[in-house]
Each structure stands twice: as C-alpha cells, then as structure tokens.
C-alpha cells in the first residue's frame, strides 16, 4: 500500500507541476495579451492625439520580467496534492476517486474496510492515466489576442508610426513640428551665409547643425517626443559652443571686465551695439590708415589723431583687448608727433586684432541666435496641439518656463518681442554690409567736409500710439454737369433704414449718416 501510495503521490506531484505551469502560462499570457492590447491602443491613439508612442523597451522589459519570474511563479502557485487530485478527477471523469483516496491516505490511522478498498480502486485508476493527459499544458485562448496585438504593433511601427489623421490634434502637432523644422532650416541657411561672409566658424557649425535638425524635423514621422529630444540635443550642443565662444571672449576682454563679460554672455551673447560699434571702429581705423597711405591726403595728422581719439573712446566703451586699445592710442600719439609710418603700422596691427574680436562677437551673436531659435522651437512643439499643456516633466524641463500656449491656428500668435527671431531672408538678402554672400564691402566713402557723429537713440523701436480722427471734408470738386440737388425724401428715408439695418457701432452710424447728409448738401 505504501509503495503504491508513493507512486500515486509522484504522479500527483507531476500533475501538480503541470497544473502550475498551466496556471502560470495562462495568467502570463493573459497579462501579456492585456498589456499588448493596451500598447496597441496606445500606439493607435498616437495617430490622433499627440502623445508619445509606447516605449518598446518597456515592453521588452515586461516580457523579460515575466519570463524570469516564470519558474518562481510555478513554484508559488503549485496546487496542493489534494487540489491536483481533484483536478484529475474532474478532467478524467474519475468521480472524486483520487481526491477521496488522497484524503484517506492523509489520515493518521491506517485505512480499513471499505476505505482500504477505495484506495486500491483509486490507485488502479491513477496508474491508468498519464500526467500529460490529466493536466495538459495549453496556451490559453488569449494567446491569439496577444499575437494579434503584437502583429498590430509591428505593423504600426512599420507603417503607421508618426502618421497622423488630418484634422486631429496629432496632425496639428505634426504641422507645428514641420513648421519649426522649416524655420530652423531657413535660419540655418541665413547663418550659413553670414558665417561664410564674415568668416565665423562657430556660426557656420551652428548653421549646419540647425539645417540638419530642421531637415530631420521635417520628416513627417517625427514624433513630438523625438523632436523634443533632438531639439534638446541640439540645444546642448549650441550651449556648449556658446560657452566656448564666451570663454574666448572673456579671455580677450580686459581684466576689469572679464567678470561682466562672463556674466552677460550666457544670456544674450554679445549686444548688437558692441558689434556695430566694433564695426564702426574698424571702418574708422581702415579709413585713417588709407588716409595715411595715400599721398596728398586731405586731412591733417592732427585731424586724423582727433578721429583716432574718438575710436579710442569708442573702444573704451567696448570690451576689447587692452592691447588693441593701447596700440590705437600709440598710433594716435605717433600721429600727433608726426611719425606717420609708425602710426600706419600700429593701426594695421590694431585693425587685425579688432577683426578677430569682431569674428568672435559675430560667432557669439550667431550661436546665441541659433540657441534661442532652438529653444523657441522646443517651446512651440512642446505646447503644440490641444494636449500640449499635458507635458511630461522632461518635456517641461526642455521647454523651460514657457507658459502653455493654445494650439496654433492658421495665424499663430507671434512670440514676445524679446524672443522674436529675425524674419526669413528675402530675395535681396545680403545687400547689407557684412551680410552679403559676395565679396566683403570696403570702408565707407568719406564725404567731404563731414565728420561722422555718433548718435544714440534711446527707447525701444516699435509702434507709437495710434490716433484716429474723424475727417469730414467735402470731396474734391468734380466736373459734373448736373447740379447737386438734395436727395428725395423717400431715398433719404430708405438710406436711413438701410443704415439702421446694418450691424454697426452707434458712433459709426452717426458718422455714416453725416457723410451721406454732407453728400446731399448743395455746394
């Protein structure tokens, strides 16, 4: 009896293991099916609403976790021997023979009488079946749902990822991404031309980066999260380039102004006034040098020295290397002392230094502008679409503290003045000094008897107050051959009724009525 009982227990242990495998398999597949169906719904929703696509790594991680935990779950969910016996009874139609025998065997006293015969009967039944027949391990019906959802996800990844239904929020967000890509390409082209014209290496690198980024954003399958990731990467590169330019500028700046240069550079790079002043100073130096080199100059050395004084004062207001300013001062002193050749040589050295400074300032300006546009594009894309307010934390970090904006319509609101970038280049772009694609322009032609006076205009350029005024005046006298007469009463009355029918502000109604009355007055 004991040996037979042990045999039954072994068989039931195998049945129990197979039952546990079946249970775990069923639950695992059901969980995977539910997760895959949800992922498919999520993926399909991306064509309608601008949400990030389901992360494939999360799915793979979930699958790995399920596979790794399979043996543990089989061990944990293994049914008891009695439960296995009941399962076998139910599946093989043994009418509770095995389960009764297992209970009788578990009793402390040895079974006697009919109980003993019952155990023998159950043992005979137990030896007739195999564990595989009693507890077949089958994939649940939900396996088809899992496979179908996986196939759907694969099809979505190959054909539908990045696609959006026209007119839906996702399409509007895709439009925002595409538009920002276009603007990045345009700015990149402009910076490229500037960099070529002025010899700005960092600007040209930033321009290439912007154009490449813009082309990638114009890919219709670029999702918002991918676009924001690309913009974040580009922003980091631009910030790094800006930092390098700032360090070079700081190194070139006078010792007393280094702190200021470093502090001001990150926010706005260099001010456009500095670049303009520097350009003006360079032009002035070239003019003076040309005057000195030409025979029969119209200006006296004293006059030229006076012009150099102005240049030195202008350089004082800028953060140029002290050596350059000292060289210009030395040239001025040489002019005052009548040493024209020494002054010419010194002015040449100073002009070379200032050209290098000008290139650094141009780089700082160009890289800063590129960085601002990338940041603006990130803000626009992050806030794009009706669901733009629901940004994730990472996206909000990238977009900075920009307030959420409404969905851009056909006429999207422009950003504030501080963030507004330059308009795209027109057909005559490059005609301004320093911006053309061709040969750099030389120094401005001096006008006889005129000295440049630097004027500073205060205030912020923009629209002034708008003033409107009612202008009531008789029309210009015509050549009508018919005398003007008063309109008939019924016509005037019809005119009044027509004016009253229109949906007009009351003040306008009065003006319009008076206009018609003025027309009818005899002149």
């Amino acid at each position: 009896m004991n040996e037979e009982a042990r045999g039954v227990h072994e068989v039931l242990a195998r049945v129990s293991f197979r039952l546990a495998v079946g249970i775990v398999l069923g639950r695992t597949v059901r969980a995977a099916a539910a997760a895959s169906v949800l992922a498919l719904i999520w993926a399909l929703a991306t064509v309608a609403v601008p949400i990030p696509p389901p992360p494939p790594r999360a799915g793979a991680a979930l699958l790995l976790v399920l596979l790794a935990s399979f043996p543990v779950l089989v061990w944990l969910w293994r049914p008891s021997r009695l439960a296995a016996a009941r399962a076998v009874d139910g599946r093989l139609g043994l009418a509770d023979r095995l389960s009764t025998a297992v209970e009788l065997l578990a009793q402390p006293e040895a079974p006697r009488g009919l109980a003993r015969v019952q155990i023998v009967d159950a043992l005979r039944a137990a030896w007739r079946f195999s564990p595989a027949a009693a507890a077949p391990v089958r994939f649940p019906r939900e396996t088809w749902a899992f496979l179908a959802a996986c196939a759907g996800l694969a099809l979505w990844a190959h054909f539908l990822a990045g696609w959006s239904v026209p007119g839906w929020p996702a399409a509007r967000t895709a439009g925002v991404i595409h538009r920002e890509g276009q603007s990045l390409v345009t700015l990149g082209q402009r910076l490229e031309s500037q960099g070529q014209a002025r010899g700005l290496p960092e600007t040209r690198r930033a321009a290439g980066l912007l154009q490449d980024l813009g082309h990638r954003l114009q890919d219709p399958r670029t999702s918002r999260s991918a676009a924001l990731a690309m913009l974040g990467g580009a922003g980091r590169q631009l910030r790094s380039a800006q930092e390098a330019v700032r360090r070079r500028l700081g190194a070139a700046a006078p010792a007393g102004n280094k702190g200021n240069a470093v502090a001001e550079a990150p926010s706005a790079g260099t001010s456009p006034n500095d670049a303009d002043r520097l350009e003006g100073a360079l032009r002035e130096l070239q003019s003076v040098t040309q005057q000195l080199r030409e025979e029969g100059t119209h200006e006296t050395p004293a006059h030229l020295a006076f012009r150099l004084r102005g240049v030195v004062e202008s350089l004082d207001r800028m953060r140029v290397p002290p050596a350059s300013r000292d060289v210009v001062s030395a040239a001025r002193r040489a002019l005052e002392e009548g040493r024209l050749s020494a002054a010419t040589s010194a002015l040449g050295d100073a002009a070379q230094d200032l050209r290098g400074m000008e290139r650094m300032l141009g780089d700082a300006q160009g890289v800063g502008e590129a960085g601002r546009l990338v940041q603006r594009s990130a803000d626009q894309i992050a806030a794009g679409g009706p669901l733009g307010n629901g940004l994730r934390s990472g996206e909000r970090e990238l977009s900075g503290a920009a307030p959420p904006q409404s969905a851009p319509g056909p006429n999207p609101p422009t950003a504030s003045g501080a963030r507004e970038t330059a308009p795209p280049p027109g057909p005559n772009q490059g005609s301004l000094p320093g911006q053309g694609a061709g040969r750099p322009l030389g120094a401005a032609t001096p006008r006889l008897g005129e000295h440049g006076v630097e004027e500073r205009l205060s205030g912020i350029p923009g629209e002034g107050p708008a003033i409107t005024r009612d202008l009531l005046a008789p029309g210009r006298g015509g050549t009508s051959r018919l005398p003007a007469v008063r309109p008939p009463a019924d016509v005037a009355h019809a005119n009044d009724r027509a004016i009253a029918r229109e949906d007009l502000p009351p003040a306008y109604v009065t003006i319009i009525r008076r206009y018609f009355e003025a027309l009818g007055e005899p002149r």
């Binding site: 009695l82 009941r86 399962a87 009874d89 009418a95 509770d96 023979r97 389960s99 009764t100 025998a101 209970e103 009788l104 009488g113 009919l114 109980a115 003993r116 015969v117 019952q118 009967d121 159950a122």
Partner: protein
C-alpha cells in the same frame, strides 16, 4: 476478488442491478424512479411518491415486496382512519379455559414494506401515527414499545391534483421522508408497452432476488462508503444555499424560500449518495451523486414563501439555481 469486502461490494452492485431488473419486468419505464426507490430502500429511508392515479405506484410497491421477499401491507388512508387502524390495538381474547386477557393485535405498520396510499387524506393525528414508526422503526402502544422488523420501508403516495378534503403533510413529517419522488407520466412507447404487458394472457411477475437480512447487510455496507471532505462540504453548502438568511444563500432562495432544507436533508443527501456510489460500483461518494440526488432528497424540505407560491416557483428551480451557483463559485475559486 478474494477480499470479502470487495466481494460484498460486487454483490451489492449485482443485487441492485437484479432488483432493478425484476422491477423493470413489471414496471414499464420509470427507470429513474426505480433507481431512486432502490437507493432509498438501501439507505434505510422512506419515500413519498407523488403522482396522479394510475401510474403504477401501488404496483411498484407490491413488486418491490415480491422481489425482496418482504412482508408487505397497504394502508388506504381515509379521513376516518384512526391511528389504531395503523398501529394495531389490544383486543380482549378469551382462551380455552374461559379466561380473558388483552392481546396485541398488530396493525398493518408491522410489515417490512408499507404502502401508505394517499397519505394526505388522513387526519394529521393519523398521519403522525406513522412518525415514530418511520423515524425510530418502533411503535409505542399502551406504554409498550414494539420494534418493527428490519428492513422497514414506508412508501407513501399522494395525489397532487385532488387537494380538496386533504390534510397536507406537516413539515416535520415531510422531513422524515428520504426522498420525495415525482412519478412522471409515461411517454408513448411506454404506454404501448404498458398496454401490451397488462392486457395479455400472462401477468408479469417479479421473482425473489434477495431476502430481508441481505438488505440489512447492504444497508450496513453502504454506510461504510468514505466521503471526501470537499464532497461533504458541497452537501453542506448546498443546504446553506437554500436558507434565505444565510450568507451563502443564492438569490433565488433569498427571494422565494421561507425555510431552507434541514440538516436532515444533508444526511439524506450523503447517505443516498453512498448507496448510489456503491450501486454504480464506485467506492466513494462523488459530487455528481449529490447533484443527481439533490432534487428528490431536498425538494420536500424547502418551504416557499408567499411570493414563491404566487409566482409558481418550484423547489426544484431553487435547487437547480443553488447547484448552478455552487458550480460557478467552484469554477471561480479554481481559476482565481
């Protein structure tokens, strides 16, 4: 087969089949009814047969008595029937010497198979005279208790359509019946067979299959059949499911039942299940046995409330709903 217990089990099954065969020689069709009567007999219980007249209830009982070679008596219950007419009475008897003495004259209950025909036509007082006999297998007359011979098997009949002038059995007495069996009307082939079998020259008759002592041994053997805990639990939960105030009650029971089945119902269910298992050559009670026997064993133990009576709900409907709910709970527990 050398094991005496295995031999007894085999003999049990053979005897059951033989009894069934003999009954089938006389009774046409009614296979489930015959099975249930045999189960009730071997479980030591009593049966309440419900059916319209002419369905062979009396013939069934008589044939059973012939097949078992047991003493058989039939009591036709009428409103003027008195308890003494059933139990017996003490009569004054004069012997050869002229002395007079009381002598007990046993009534028809002192048989081994008693047919209480139309039991609901007698008064409750007379009906209750059967109570002690059915429960204790003994009667007390004039302060003296007299045991009835074993096996003692009461089959009572009642007509479900003629209720006028009847006295419905009280719940206490209904509870003493192991089964309440409904005798179905025979179908067309069975009717043909009945006509052929009863209008010919020879009447079909049952032969003796087993004697009374053998029946008693079979009853004792049936009680040894083991019952697994989950089978016992099923019986208990089925009983609780019929109690409207129980947490385990099914919705139908809560709505239509006034009182659920008594613990005696669980006893009847398990005991009958043991006999059914043995009669099928099985040595343990299965849930399937309980499911098959739940309707005859419990239907007369449920008392419908007014809403149930008004809605025409049958106790069988409640029991079927309870079993379906228990199955659903079992599946949920297995899967969850």
């Amino acid at each position: 087969m050398s094991d005496p217990i295995e031999h007894a089990v085999a003999e049990f099954r053979t005897t059951c089949a033989a009894i069934h065969g003999e009954l089938s020689r006389v009774i046409v069709g009614q296979r489930d009814l015959l099975d249930s009567v045999i189960i009730a007999l071997l479980a030591g219980g009593h049966v309440l047969l419900e059916g319209v007249p002419g369905l062979g209830k009396t013939l069934l009982v008589r044939t059973l008595a012939q097949a078992l070679d047991l003493r058989y008596s039939r009591i036709q219950f009428t409103p003027d029937l008195m308890p003494a007419d059933i139990l017996g009475t003490n009569l004054i008897v004069q012997d050869e010497t002229g002395r007079r003495r009381f002598e007990f004259q046993p009534g028809p209950v002192f048989s081994q198979i008693v047919l209480a025909d139309e039991i609901n036509r007698a008064t409750p007082k007379t009906q209750s005279a059967l109570l002690e006999a059915m429960q204790e297998h003994a009667v007390t007359i004039a302060g003296q208790s007299r045991h009835l011979d074993e096996p003692f098997f009461v089959l009572a009949t009642q007509n479900p359509i003629e209720m006028e002038g009847t006295y419905p059995l009280p719940e206490a007495q209904l509870d003493r019946f192991l089964f309440k069996l409904r005798v179905p009307f025979p179908d067309l082939p069975d009717l043909h067979a009945i006509i052929d079998r009863t209008t010919g020259v020879e009447d079909a008759a049952a032969h003796r299959v087993v004697a009374g002592p053998a029946v008693v041994r079979m009853q004792a053997l049936a009680r040894q059949v083991p019952v697994a805990s989950h089978v016992r639990d099923y019986a208990a939960r089925l009983i609780l499911a019929t109690h409207p105030d129980s947490d385990a009650a099914v919705e139908t029971a809560r709505r239509y039942i006034r009182y659920g089945a008594s613990p005696r119902g669980a006893q009847a269910l398990v005991l009958a299940g043991k006999v059914r298992a043995l009669s099928q050559g099985r040595l343990n009670v299965a849930i399937e046995d309980l499911q098959v026997l739940a309707l005859p064993a419990l239907r007369h133990r449920l008392i419908l409330n007014f809403e149930g009576e008004a809605a025409g709900v049958e106790p069988d409907d409640v029991l079927r709903a309870a079993m379906a709910e228990l199955d659903a709970r079992e599946i949920r527990a297995r899967e969850g």
